[in-house]
Symmetry: C2
Subunit: 239 residues, 2 copies
DNA sequence: CAGAAATAATGATATTAATCATTAATATTA
DNA sequence: TAATATTAATGATTAATATCATTATTTCTG
C-alpha cells in the first residue's frame, strides 16, 4: 500500500453516485397520452418510512420502481456484508437492470434513508412500452449506459483510492449531487457513511476529525458545511 | 481486516467476468437484410496484435466495437493505476456504454491479450439502427442490464473478498467463461493476473503456490489445470 | 547460441486500515 | 426525569497485503 495521507493519483470522475446533470428531468416526456394513461392505470404509489425496504435482493419483482421523492440506497449484500452501489434521490428510476433479468429477481436490495415515496409500475406494462416506444427505450439505454459509466468511476474510486480520498469523494458527491448545496443536514449516520465510503465507522470518525482540524469542513450534529471544496477535491483526486 | 486464510462469506455470483450463458449467440439476428447490409457497408474489420490498443480512454470514438475473435480487456486507468472492468472473448460487443455518451469519448481503454480481430461499426449507423429497430434495441438493453449486474458481482468480489477468494474466483471465471475447460493455456502473465484480480503480482505468485501445494490446481509454464474445482469454488465463496 | 531482458519466486519489512476495548455524548423510552 | 439504547469518539493492537530487495528461471533477440 502507499505510504501517505492525502497522496496518490486518480483521474477518473469522482462523481459517481448519481447523474451529475440531474435537472428536473421528465422521464415520461416521450410517452404518448395513451402510454401515460396505461402506466397510471397500472401503478401504485407507495410510501416508505425511513429504514424500510423498497426491494430485497433475491426476491421476485413484478414492478419497476420509480422514486418520486426521498433518498434511497441500492446495495448488494450477504449474511455479513453490504456493498452500496448507488444512492438515489427523488425523480429517478431505481433498479432498471433487474427489469431485464429473465427471472425478474432483484439483484440488489433497496432501502430508504429517509421517508420516501415510490411508484411501483407493473413490469409487463413497462416492458411493453419499452418494446414499442423507440424514443423512450433510447432514453432507457442512455440511462443504463450512464449508470454503467458512473459505476466504473465508483469501482475505480473504491479500488484505487485510500480512505481519505474515498471519504472526500463521497462528501463532494453528496454535496454536489444529492443536496446540491455546500451546506446540508446529512441524513446518514457515521455507520451509514462508512458503509457508503467502504470503510469502518471508526475510520469515518477519524477522517472527519482530520478534515475538521484542517478546516476543510465544519460539522456539528450531522450538519455539514464544506469550507474548502478545492482542497477536498484535491484529496479526492490524489487518493 | 479479517484474521483468516480461506474464511469469510459471500453469496453474490462469483462469475462476473463475462456472460455465463454465452452460446454462439447471433447478435445481429434481429436485423433486417437491409440493416445488415447497412452495417456491412459501414464497418471495417481490423486485426489487432497482442498488446495493442483497440481503444484508448479519453479518446474520441466514431464507431461501435464488436470483437469477432480474440481476447481483450477493458479497463479504466490513470497515470499510475489500472482497474480491469471486464475481459471479453470473441463474438461480443465491446463497450456499449460509451455509445450513448453525449460526447462519444471512450470511458475506458481496450487492449488485446492475444491477437484479435474486431469490427468497427460506424457509430451513427449503429445508433440509427438502435433507434429504429425495437427488437435489436431490446437486445441491447438486456445486454447492458446483464453487464451491469455482472459488474455488481465483480465490485462486490473486489470489495468484500480477500486475496485468496478473489484469485480463486478469477481462476474459475477464466476456466468457465473464457476457455470453457478445466485445463487451459493461460494467456496472462502473473502481472496481468494480478491486475485482473486486483492484487500485486507477488501475491498472485504466493497464492498460486499455495493452491498448488494444496492440490487445487496444477500449473507449469502457464498451463493450468483445475484439479479441485469444488474446493476452489468454496474458497471463492468464503472470501 | 550467448547475452540481455522479462518474468517468476521468495523472504523481510512497512503500511493502511480493520478490529477490539473503553469511554463520552446524544437520543429514545418507560 | 431517570434509565436505557444508540451513536460518536479515541487509543491500542492486529491482520492482510503491498512494497522492497534479491535471486532464479524463462523468453527474447542480435
Amino acid at each position: 500500500m502507499e505510504k501517505c495521507l492525502y497522496e496518490n493519483s486518480c483521474t477518473v470522475s469522482q462523481l459517481h453516485l448519481t447523474d451529475v446533470n440531474q435537472k428536473k428531468k421528465d422521464w415520461f416526456y416521450y410517452l404518448s397520452k395513451k402510454e401515460k394513461k396505461l402506466i397510471e392505470d397500472n401503478q401504485v404509489e407507495v410510501f416508505f418510512k425511513k429504514g424500510e425496504n423498497l426491494a430485497k435482493q433475491g426476491s421476485f419483482s413484478s414492478y419497476a420502481l420509480f422514486l418520486t421523492n426521498g433518498l434511497v440506497k441500492t446495495y448488494v449484500e450477504n449474511q455479513h456484508e453490504t456493498l452500496i452501489l448507488k444512492i438515489i434521490p427523488g425523480n429517478n428510476f431505481i433498479g432498471l437492470p433487474l427489469l431485464f433479468e429473465e427471472n425478474n429477481v432483484f439483484p440488489y436490495s433497496v432501502t430508504a434513508y429517509v421517508d420516501s415515496t415510490a411508484k411501483l409500475i407493473d413490469i409487463n406494462i413497462f416492458k411493453k412500452i419499452i418494446k414499442e416506444n423507440n424514443k423512450f427505450s433510447y432514453e432507457i439505454i442512455k440511462l443504463l449506459s450512464l449508470n454503467t459509466v458512473l459505476l466504473y468511476g465508483r469501482f475505480f474510486c473504491f479500488e484505487k483510492k485510500q480512505s481519505y480520498g474515498r471519504l472526500a469523494d463521497i462528501l463532494l458527491c453528496i454535496s454536489n449531487n444529492i443536496y446540491k448545496n455546500i451546506e446540508f443536514e446529512l441524513a446518514l449516520s457515521r455507520k451509514e457513511l462508512g458503509e457508503l465510503a467502504g470503510m469502518s465507522y471508526e475510520s469515518v470518525i477519524r477522517i472527519l476529525k482530520k478534515f475538521k482540524e484542517d478546516n476543510l469542513i465544519e460539522e456539528k450534529n450531522n450538519h455539514i458545511k464544506i469550507i474548502n471544496k478545492d482542497k477536498l477535491a484535491q484529496i479526492s483526486q490524489l487518493g
